[in-house]
Amino acid sequence: MSKVVLSVEDVSKMYRIGLVTGKTLKQDINRWWHTARGKEDPYLKIGEKNDRAKKGESDFVWVLKNIDFKLEQGETLGIIGRNGAGKSTLLKILSRVTKPTSGNIKIKGRIASLLEVGTGFHPELSGRENIFLNGAILGMRKKEIQNKLDEIIDFSGVERYIDTPVKRYSSGMYVRLAFAVAAYLESEILIIDEVLAVGDSEFQKKCLGKMNDATSKEGRSVIFVSHNMAAIQNLCTRGLHLQFGQNIEYGNIQSVIQNYLRQENGNFIGGKIDLSNSLRSNGKIIAIKQGWSENKNGEITNSFNMGEPITLKFEYDLGESLPYVLFGFGIETELGIRVATFNNELMGPKPFSRIRRGIASCTIENPQFAAGRFYISLAIVNNGADWVDFIEQAFAIDIEPVDVFKTGNVINETFGFIYSYGKIENISLDN
């Protein structure tokens, strides 16, 4: 049983929004007057749920409300949620940049936070000088930095520029240097806020590898905030989903991500989905009206067994008759990775000419999608490259796990996106 290194108990945070004016002073005095007499802060009662898109009644909003979780040693927790869900505020409280309005946080060991890379970097100082300065700001002693200096420079990969002022650095080099310093922090808990979004893919891999080492080899715990679901899924063992400052789900990362994405993508399941108001990724007109999927009996459904034929359909109205029309159907995973593309440029027939209204249909006779949820993208293209309309992730289908190879084992989500028979043999080298 592993040790709990961080315990967050019923943490809430209230902010006053709007401008600081004379009214604020009045509220401050009122609050001070209440608390000085031992009464409760009157503004805590009128706090509202923090939905940034809606107009609120009160100047006071709860950006975090009753957050509870525990972090164990060696565990990586991913925090996900939309913009303004309270992720960064939570990290700020954990890194002691600001304090909670109520609740309690207990920490065992040192905590190092990377809410931004290169905090305190001075543009006029050289890379080497900034390593020392940044390291000290993050809580390292000079000696510690001295001992690790070579490793840090090596990890950053900017050795050649190490004595050049950082204002001459490219933004990528800047980030590399900054992350390298943080990577060598010695702390039991590491907090990282979406800092990997910058830097090239080679460096991102290096950072993710370093973070993996931190948890699995060195037994450190990591809290990670990102909008990159693939990175979260790779790195984290547990997830926390925040919405309007509230804890929606806390648990196994797989299910947290899945439910988050399903919620974010709305209700795409069941019947014909009206697409006239959906977000468009490309195109000129709202040509695609609705989309749905059918089974081999022509019944509308979103649920298919593995291997069962799938028919994808959408209804369109081009407004005028067009000469060379292509229909495209894309199948994507929940993380937005394209698994398959079907269009009549790739697989025929030739472009449809002089059509205006109708239903586009794509039947996949022998699908080899493994169990899981897949999203369908729909497109209409004219003249080969002229986007008429394009909706990404228009609706979803669910593939149900089936024992396709009759071995008594069903193929579920954990075995990848597609299935295919592979002949397994042993070629013995014993003799």
Binding site: T98, I105, K106, I111, L115, E116, R141
Partner: protein, 284 residues
């Protein structure tokens, strides 16, 4: 397995004690303090041709103007000592005090970027400012000693150096504490309401005239003197001049008063500062 209540290293809560200053932690971050001082020094002269010479230009020009305006035009005396040494000594002391005060009074606002991203004891920043101002003072002070040397060899200058120059470190400590404390109080007040900020710039300027910097205490009318005595900088400036130039008379009681004033103000200011530092990010 959860550690027992006593095994947690740190607890974060809304409420904090009134005097919650973690000196141990502050000591652990001393390397950061030194690096910040070095940064200030290096960064301020990057891409300048004259570099540290700028440290001398400011007091030289100010001394020159004070001689012209206060000595030659306004005919304020300098206690019979050479005007150059009289004004220069006042200027470098006052500079030290006023830069400490004005730069630390900006602590929260000017560092909100760093403070908003990473935690370290906030007091490190203002302390680093005071130390780097002390270094700057050191440079100007050695320049002052050179000038003093020159006048020592002029028989008519009547400069008398006394053993009280050994009090210089105490003077510097008091000035540093005063500047830091006033600065901390102001910075704590201005996290939410910036009104006080407007006062600082000209307030310090006005305070200089309430301190015997451009005139000796001896020419002040008896009825105004009590008012000047209340100013904790008065005893220091007068004491410094008595020690190095032999001007005026020594007020040990005033120095003791300044010292006591500085200590009390310092404790008060870090209490306020430590109260504000935990939540200031929300209002700054």
């Amino acid at each position: 397995m959860e550690p027992k209540a006593t095994e947690w290293d740190l607890e974060i809560q809304h409420k904090s004690k009134f005097f919650d200053v973690n000196f141990k932690e502050l000591w652990r971050y001393r390397d950061l303090m030194m690096l910040l001082v070095k940064r200030d020094y290096k960064a301020s002269f990057k891409q300048t041709i004259l570099g540290p010479v700028w440290f001398f230009i400011q007091p030289i020009l100010t001394t020159f103007f004070y001689i012209v305006v206060f000595n030659n035009i306004a005919r304020l005396g300098t206690d019979g000592k050479p005007a150059t040494t009289f004004y220069l000594s006042g200027i470098i002391l006052w500079n030290y005090f006023s830069t400490c005060l004005t730069t630390t009074s900006n602590t929260f606002v000017s560092n909100s970027n760093i403070f908003g991203k990473v935690y370290f004891p906030r007091l490190i920043m203002p302390i680093a400012v005071v130390v780097s101002n002390l270094a700057k003072f050191g440079i100007q002070f050695s320049f002052f000693l050179l000038i003093l040397m020159y006048f020592l060899f002029q028989p008519e200058s009547q400069i008398e150096i006394s053993w009280y120059i050994l009090l210089t470190p105490l003077f510097l400590l008091i000035i540093g504490l005063l500047g830091l404390s006033f600065g901390l109080i102001i910075s704590s007040l201005t996290t939410k309401y910036r009104d006080v900020n407007h006062l600082v710039g000209f307030g310090v300027q006005l305070l200089m005239y309430a301190t015997p910097v451009v005139y000796p205490l001896s020419i002040v009318d008896e009825k105004y003197r009590t008012f000047l005595y209340m100013n904790p900088m008065t005893g220091i400036v007068e004491g410094f001049r008595y020690a190095f130039l032999g001007s005026g008379e020594l007020h040990l009681d005033l120095i003791a008063y300044s010292f006591g004033f500085a200590i009390v103000l310092f404790l008060f200011s870090i209490a306020i500062f430590s109260k504000v530092e935990k939540g200031f990010m929300d209002t700054v």
